[in-house]
Amino acid sequence: MPQQPQAQPSPTPPKKKKIRVPRVINGVEQMVEIEVDDVAGPGWGPNDKHTLLNHRLTRVDGPLKVSGAAKYTYDVRLPNMLYGRVRRCPHAHARIKKFDSSAALRMPGVKAIIQTPLTEFRFAGSPVAAVAATTPELAQDAARAIVVEYEVLPHVVIPDAAIKANAPRVLPTEGPGGEDNLAAKGKQGDPQKVEAAFATCDAVVEAEYRTPRLHHCCLETHGMVVDFSGGDTATIYATTQGTFTIPQDAARELGLPQSAVTATVQHMGGGFGSKFGIGIEGMMACRLSKETKAPVKLMLTRTDEFLMTGNRSGSWQKLKGGAKKDGTLVAVQATQYRLGGVGQGSQAGQPYAVYRAADTYREIYALHTNEDSAIAMRAPGHPQTSFAIESLLDELAYKIGMDPVAFRKKNMPDAMYHRQLERGAQEINWAKRNPIPGGSPGPLKRGMGCAAGTWGGGGNDQCKVDVTVTRDGAVTVAVGTQDLGTGTRTFTRAIVAEELGLQIKDVVEQIGNSKLGGANASGGSTTAASLSPSVKDGAYKARMALAEKFSPLLGNAKPDEIVFANGNVSAGGKSLAWKQACAALPPAGVVAHGVWRSDLQTRGVHGAVFAEVDVDVETGKVRPVKLLQVQDGGLPLNRLTMESQINGGMIQALGMALYETRVMDADLGVQLNPSFVDYKLPGALEMPELIPLIDDEDKRELVIGIAEAAIIPAIGAIANAVFNACGARIRELPITPDKILMALAAERRSA
């Protein structure tokens, strides 16, 4: 029998109100208007009064992960399962002339070969075909044995070349997705006014900043296991950021109704914006499974992962900023190129929203190259924009001889930044830094820099949560959402446990299955603020329903007077242990349905980072010494996870600042470093001391996501610390030893 909610809806339908919330489409948050109930329910209460939330909770899936028991998509093995491998196009631009898979199909163990629907390939690495075979090795051999002949077409992979009038054309002339290599995407401000404003400035800096295309580097590569043997139903084991982004597309490929397809994602090895929908690899897995009537596992190789799963948009930003001697930022002018390959790329508009200038003008363009499409990656567009503006502001501050912290504060309208910068400066002992760039003695020079960031982090109404309490006292919270490793399982349990006066271990969560209640895709830092209000609502409704049932046991106390705490339910001097009380429930127990409440969350986070580095001016080596981030986030659901998020953000920022870059060969049009040997992620020895500081002065009793906020400011802070240390301003990321040595040599020559 289906269970009915025990909590009764209010007798009169609540008033509605319209609000704007972020919804994630392919990893990018877009603001949409929705209608919600205009009621204020019980809130979270003061941030310092929680029994579990805002504490340091070890993650509930931690033991499974460190012991290897957690099952990822990569670990799934099914009877009769075939393995898929992909054949990629090696040319940056080519049209297919001949495709002959007959010999490959005759190879041992090979069960099916399918071609992708593409006939013209606009980047090297574009998938051409896929093979299903009885082992991954046989599939790989067969993929290589397919005979493909191409008509090779002119390509361009370097932005400086692509912008030229006579450059090879990247995208089609017309039709969907057709536009010129350089495509205007918007203008804002008054160019004449800005130009006039520069004339009133005491200092003007004009410079170009560049950030390379970067890879997500998920520990688990993209892919899925399609459990379909030609019957009426299918299960998709997916490594995805959106359980509910899978069934529809998979069903279409398999020729099944959407309701016949279940997507499951129990544990997944990271997405960072790259894993929404089934992807072309999922499409191929489904088609291979459909053709062979056998389960197919198609996980991309690491090389595939670098070459065909998208990457962070690069940027090329021409900025001009002007300031008064007193530190007032007067004008900012920007020409911003989004380097999105065959895609649109992303870049927040200049000047970055943290700062205000009286007069601003910007032009934004997409500048296309024959490279894989940029896709969402942790805080799409923000790290690029932040690095450039933070560098420009730093240059201006040094030019007018003003402390970079004071200069920033002067131009930050939001006072929360002032507090965060002051705290960070105090914690890192900013006052003790050498204010003269390169001024410290000896070859190893220490420097400090700072920067700030901003993000939304609000939620939307997509999460539907069931909280079930049974007669044996077992508590289950069920919702189809996914845990990307961000701690979703843990806070989901914690909210219910706290509401019912229990401990984390007393609650079990069921997540990662599309047959459970709906949930949003995890992008744009929207998960916590979307899920937690629904969980809270379900938990609260469950508590009220339980209280009604327990009331007769507690002297007919009013439900809202019954206290759930410390594993007991109590009222009027009477107290029952949890299990004792639950034993009195009806056979079906209690089920409550939680829906989203906008009044339990909000959007808008800040964040300031201070970086301390040593630069060896004789080798160009930067040794990161310390990274410190002051981060607000409303109510921290789990302090430990929030600190981990901040640390993880700082580490990814460190990679972007100092190590990572996608290297392309202009003539061959191929990526030269599609491996973890040559694509240099920072490792253990690169780690500085990481200091994540939660800004508890943020008294908002509301949930906000901070995952993306965590990656934004550290990049500019590190770049500025490098300048403070050695006097070389590196305007193109990553800041590698060769660039520092050459910049220092150029400075010596000009001095």
Binding site: A666, G683, L685
Partner: protein, 337 residues
């Protein structure tokens, strides 16, 4: 990787026979190959850079995994000795500290636990053009070294042309500095050659190889002779990423010091800057007879980099390597830097 025949052997003679009797390859990179730790060859096989039809496992050969004294203060190091064993050997650490440092600088602990001395010397280039399956460069039988005009940040500033690879071995520069010989067994029996002559420049020989080995040749051991300078040896490797990386540049240095830090013998060999370990005799000569001080070392460093011919993107290697020369010599000379 391609399918291949796996052969276990227990003697060097069997190994040589197994390699020699393999079907003659269509391409040099299809030839039968020996495998020991597999830390490099497996990566080339997985990327189809080498496609051996037969792989001969040397790990079953007894006696090649020992570090022994030669009775005269020198060392005989078997080709199957792992890099971990080398870096941890008390004998090596005491008398040949630079060699222990060079071994320690390689890859990661996992790689060093499996990688061998012989394998380290026979590594294929790390050039990213060479390592891409789709790119048929000069070293793979093509007609062009794409690094010459392409992305050459990590490439040669000495000895380049027509190929601009750098030799990836960390042991090689140090062993060359220490005057090491290498013993090789092939179809015609055993021969011993100075390690300095083992590596070949692209301009001097077969572009498809980095050394004088023939297909059926097996390195059995290297001999590091006793020397006055071995005790004052060091290997200074500069990595872009400390956690795991090949040398952007490296310096193997060894000196014999007399009174007042006067240098009577010097060996300076550069790594990461040339297709072979790059000894700089003029710099050695500039140091001999001098008392070590910072001024002398600055001059020696300058001399060491004379004649460097940087490509478009690797001019930084000149000042970087100068720094490393200076610092390596300061370290062996006990000078503060």
């Amino acid at each position: 990787m391609n399918t291949f025949e796996w052969m276990n052997v227990t003697t060097v003679a069997e190994a040589v026979n197994a390699l020699k009797s393999a079907p003659s390859p269509a391409d040099p990179d299809d030839a039968a190959r020996p495998i020991a730790g597999g830390q490099d060859i497996l990566t080339t096989m997985k990327d189809y850079i080498t496609r051996p039809t037969r792989v001969v496992n040397l790990k079953g050969i007894r006696g090649l995994d020992k570090i022994e004294s030669d009775g005269k203060g020198g060392l005989r190091i078997g080709a199957l000795v792992t890099l971990s064993e080398l870096e941890e050997s008390p004998l090596v650490r005491r008398s040949f500290p630079g060699l222990a440092e060079a071994a320690h600088s390689v890859g990661t602990a996992q790689i060093r636990n499996l990688g061998t001395v012989g394998g380290n010397l026979c590594q294929r280039p790390r050039c990213w053009y060479f390592r891409l399956e789709e790119v048929v460069c000069l070293k793979k039988g093509g007609t062009e070294c794409y690094a010459a005009t392409g992305e050459n940040k990590y490439h040669a500033i000495f000895g380049g042309g027509p190929s601009y690879i750098v030799h990836p071995s960390d042991l090689a520069p140090m062993l060359v500095a220490l005057g090491t010989s290498v013993s090789v067994v092939g179809a015609d029996g055993k021969r011993t050659i100075p390690l300095e002559k083992f590596f070949i420049l692209p301009a001097d020989g077969n572009l498809r190889r980095e050394n004088v080995l023939k297909n059926e040749d097996i390195i059995t051991d290297v001999q590091v002779p006793a020397s006055k300078f071995a005790a004052h040896s060091t290997y200074l490797k500069f990595k872009e990423r400390d956690s795991m990386d090949f040398a952007m540049s490296a310096v193997a240095a060894a000196v014999t010091l007399g009174a007042n830090k006067t240098v009577s013998e010097a060996r300076i060999v550069l790594g990461g800057v040339a297709p072979v370990p790059w000894r700089v005799p003029k710099a050695e000569a500039a140091l001999v007879g001098k008392a070590m001080n910072n001024e002398v070392l600055t001059n020696v460093a300058k001399v060491a980099l004379e004649g460097a011919q940087p490509l478009a993107r690797n001019a930084y290697k000149v000042p970087l390597t100068q720094t490393l020369v200076r610092r390596a010599l300061a370290r062996v000379g006990g000078l503060a830097t």
